[in-house]
């Protein structure tokens, strides 16, 4: 039976119920509909996991949507190990965040609308990961994008929110253009858009080149890079990363679900899903590794100096996504997906904790106005502390295992840039620990720095918010235990302890690593030291001598300003793309060609059609004789034309 259909269609049903009957009937009970549906999906997803563990994978077309000649579009599902991991991540995070939203969105005017969108998003994300062909993937891809824009601009009365939604939309257009082009190239090359035939035939065409813009380009590289365009747009990698920090304008549960745990990882999923294509193209792999590494260090350094609590976590997300790209780029797809899976838990947790803090602070986001919240909100403090330990790579917690595996495979793997990205990754590990604990110390320790009124308002969040936090904490601690490196496993007496890698082996293969045990121990030590060093330094700066960071900011004012302004990328785009486009359109297009050419096209065509319409309708005079005359004339013209030609 197609039991797995329940997974995407339960949330879809919830969406339909809420959007159709939400305003009149469901109203304040909207969360019940959505939560029950998503929880149901979660149960079926776990059931699916059990099936897949027994080795029962699914790849079938359920329904042919369009079949005309050779062009076929159908709804099909592929459920293998990779899909299952994504299913578990998406449904778990989605369920917990749905529950959390009950408390967070309480009393909001568009309560039912919020849950409707959240369920629609879950549906699209599940369709994305369960697709067995590129077009369905694209459908899910655009669907999650659409929901993301809706939800970023959820507070549409706020200008910054609607601007952020617009920015996300436009930036993603760039990426999706490449992605769409990639799918077209795939269809033209293979005559099909199904994963399976494409991946089996890709080896045969890998050596082919085609002429692209006058250059001879390897076909595999071309397809891989086009798909990669889509991935960097959705996963907010350099240079298309600018939309993600702004996306924090949306409600915090949205940031946690869409912009941390699930949607932004779709790019990584795409890379892993298309690993047979990427693996054939070394240039594409190197590009992926380098872009990932650069994004991760770039975002980590920006996060060092920001004061907006959600933006820090957003940059942290960028940085961790960079890690995942880096992993895929060095061929360690398993490690990348493993990090995706652990990251979903601790990053969603971080966001939800930030939301909890915002809730207590009545929407305040500035770290400098917080402090000492520890005693008011102990649950939030404890869970956020554990999440930060996890992201910093403290041994035993989830983040440690996945991060360590990426770094080891980057170092020991066959990639030509492996050593370089390893070095960057280690530095980033240090920076990550530093800014994560900077956030913890500034928020929860020391004296409260906000107003009296705010201090009076401080309180722990309701149960519906803290319970998901506690549940996610379990994930942030324990989710990594399915992938303990074999090296450590031997020490604690478990054989083949890197069970995750074995599980993913059928889909993603096993990465080669050439290194001795001694090297592996050494690298593990370095990354642990980097993490602990970061935490220690943050403690010295923000618990001990508060004057040090201030002094440093003054001394290295130049660097501080660069970081504070996020490397001026937004300004760079503004100056190199947005403003020149506007300038050209204003001065050259409007100034030189004036209102003639552009006006003609943009306004003239609709106006011309409107004008034609106004004239044409005069033919219809209402007089019967005219009608008959036109009919007779028509018949006469046709007759003359056919008989006299």
């Amino acid at each position: 039976m197609n039991y797995y259909l329940l997974i995407p269609f339960l949330p879809l049903t919830a969406f339909l119920i809420n959007i159709l009957f939400g305003k009149k009937y469901v109203q304040e009970r909207a969360h019940w509909v959505s939560i029950l549906a998503v929880a149901g999906s979660w149960i079926v997803a776990v059931f699916t996991l059990l099936k897949v563990l027994k080795g029962e994978t699914v790849n079938e077309d359920l329904y042919t949507w369009v079949l005309s000649g050779t062009f076929e579009v159908s709804v099909g599902f592929l459920i293998d190990q990779l899909t299952t991991v994504m299913l578990i991540v998406v449904t778990t995070c989605s369920t917990l965040i749905h529950i959390y939203s009950v408390g967070y969105m309480h009393g909001d005017k568009g309560y039912y609308r919020f849950f409707a969108y959240l369920s629609l998003f879950t549906f699209c994300m599940l369709m994305l990961v369960m697709a067995n062909n590129f077009l369905q993937l694209y459908f899910g891809w655009e669907g999650v994008g659409l929901c993301s824009y809706f939800l970023i601009g959820y507070y549409f009365n706020k200008k910054s929110a609607s601007d952020a939604g617009k920015k996300a939309f436009i930036v993603n257009r760039f990426g999706d253009f490449g992605f769409g082009l990639g799918i077209i190239v795939i269809f033209l090359t293979f005559g099909t858009i199904y994963y399976e035939p494409v991946f089996t035939q890709i080896g045969g065409v890998a050596a082919q080149t085609i002429s692209f813009l006058g250059y001879e380009v390897n076909l595999a590289t071309l397809i891989a890079l086009l798909l990669f365009c889509g991935a960097i747009g959705k996963s907010a990698q350099m240079p298309l990363h600018v939309w993600l920090p702004d996306a924090m304008e949306g409600p915090t549960p949205v940031s946690a679900l869409i912009h941390a745990a699930t949607m932004v990882t779709a790019g990584v999923f795409l890379l892993a899903r298309c690993s047979p294509i990427f693996s054939l193209s070394e240039p594409a792999m190197v590009v992926a590794a380098l872009i990932g590494a650069i994004t991760s260090i770039f975002a980590a350094t920006i996060a060092l100096v920001q004061n907006d609590i959600k933006r820090i976590i957003a940059y942290s997300t960028l940085s961790q996504l960079g890690y995942m790209f880096l992993a895929c780029g060095v061929g360690a797809y398993t490690a990348g997906i493993f990090h995706l899976y652990t990251h979903a838990f601790f990053k969603a947790l971080l966001f939800l904790c930030a939301g909890s803090v915002m809730h207590a602070m009545a929407g305040e986001l500035d770290l400098q106005k917080m402090g000492g919240l520890k005693k008011y909100m102990p649950v939030t403090y404890a869970t956020m502390f554990i999440a930060s330990l996890s992201i910093s790579g403290v041994p035993g917690l989830a983040g440690f295992f996945s991060k360590d595996e990426i770094l080891w495979l980057a170092y020991a793997g066959p990639s030509p840039v492996g050593k370089f990205v390893w070095a960057i990754g280690t530095i980033v590990a240090f920076l990550t620990a530093f800014y994560s604990f900077r956030l913890i110390f500034l928020t929860f320790h020391g004296e409260f720095r906000g107003t009296q009124k705010q201090e009076h308002h401080l309180h722990e969040s309701p149960k519906s918010m803290t319970v998901p936090l506690m549940l996610l904490t379990i994930g942030a601690v324990a989710s990594g235990w399915v992938g303990i490196p074999n090296l450590l496993g031997e020490v604690i007496g478990i054989e083949h302890s890197n069970w995750f890698s074995g599980f993913m082996n059928p889909v993603l293969g096993h990465p080669e690593a050439h290194g001795t045990h001694a090297e592996e121990w050494m690298l593990m030590g370095i990354s642990v030291l980097a993490g602990l060093g970061g935490i220690g330094l943050a403690a010295v700066f923000y618990l001990g001598r508060r004057s040090i960071p201030v002094l440093l900011a003054q001394k290295f004012g130049f660097i501080y300003r660069i970081l504070w302004n996020k490397y001026y990328v937004d300004e760079l785009y503004s100056h190199t793309i947005v403003r020149p486009t506007l300038w050209i359109s204003q001065n050259i297009l409007m100034g030189i060609t004036d209102a003639k050419i552009i006006e003609l096209i943009v306004n003239g065509v609709p106006r011309a059609i409107g004008g034609v319409s106004q004239h044409l309708r005069k033919v219809q005079t209402g007089l019967l004789q005219h009608y008959a005359a036109i009919m007779a004339t028509g018949a006469l013209i046709i007759g003359a034309w056919i008989l006299l030609r």
């Binding site: 309708r617 005069k618 219809q620 005079t621 209402g622 007089l623 019967l624 004789q625 008959a628 005359a629 007779a632």
Partner: protein
Amino acid sequence: MVPLNWYLMLSTVVFMIGVFGFLTRKNIIIMFISVELMLNAVNISLVSFSHFLQDLRGHILVFFIITVAAAEAAIGLALIIALFRNKTTAHVDEMTEMKG
């Protein structure tokens, strides 16, 4: 014996008279009679074809056309009466409320 072509020419001429009558006259009843003229033109040609082909189908169709034309006349007159009750006119050029 009158050749077939003469009948056909008569038919064409009557048909054309009907068309021109329909296009030029304003009175609905006269326009309707013009249509009847066109139908009768067809009847002439059908009957003559039928005769020259020694085939009964043409005759049968003519009977049907006459029957349908009778029904059509009934409906047409009913519509004209309904119109006349509202507007006391049977002229098409006063029937231009809808246009454009």
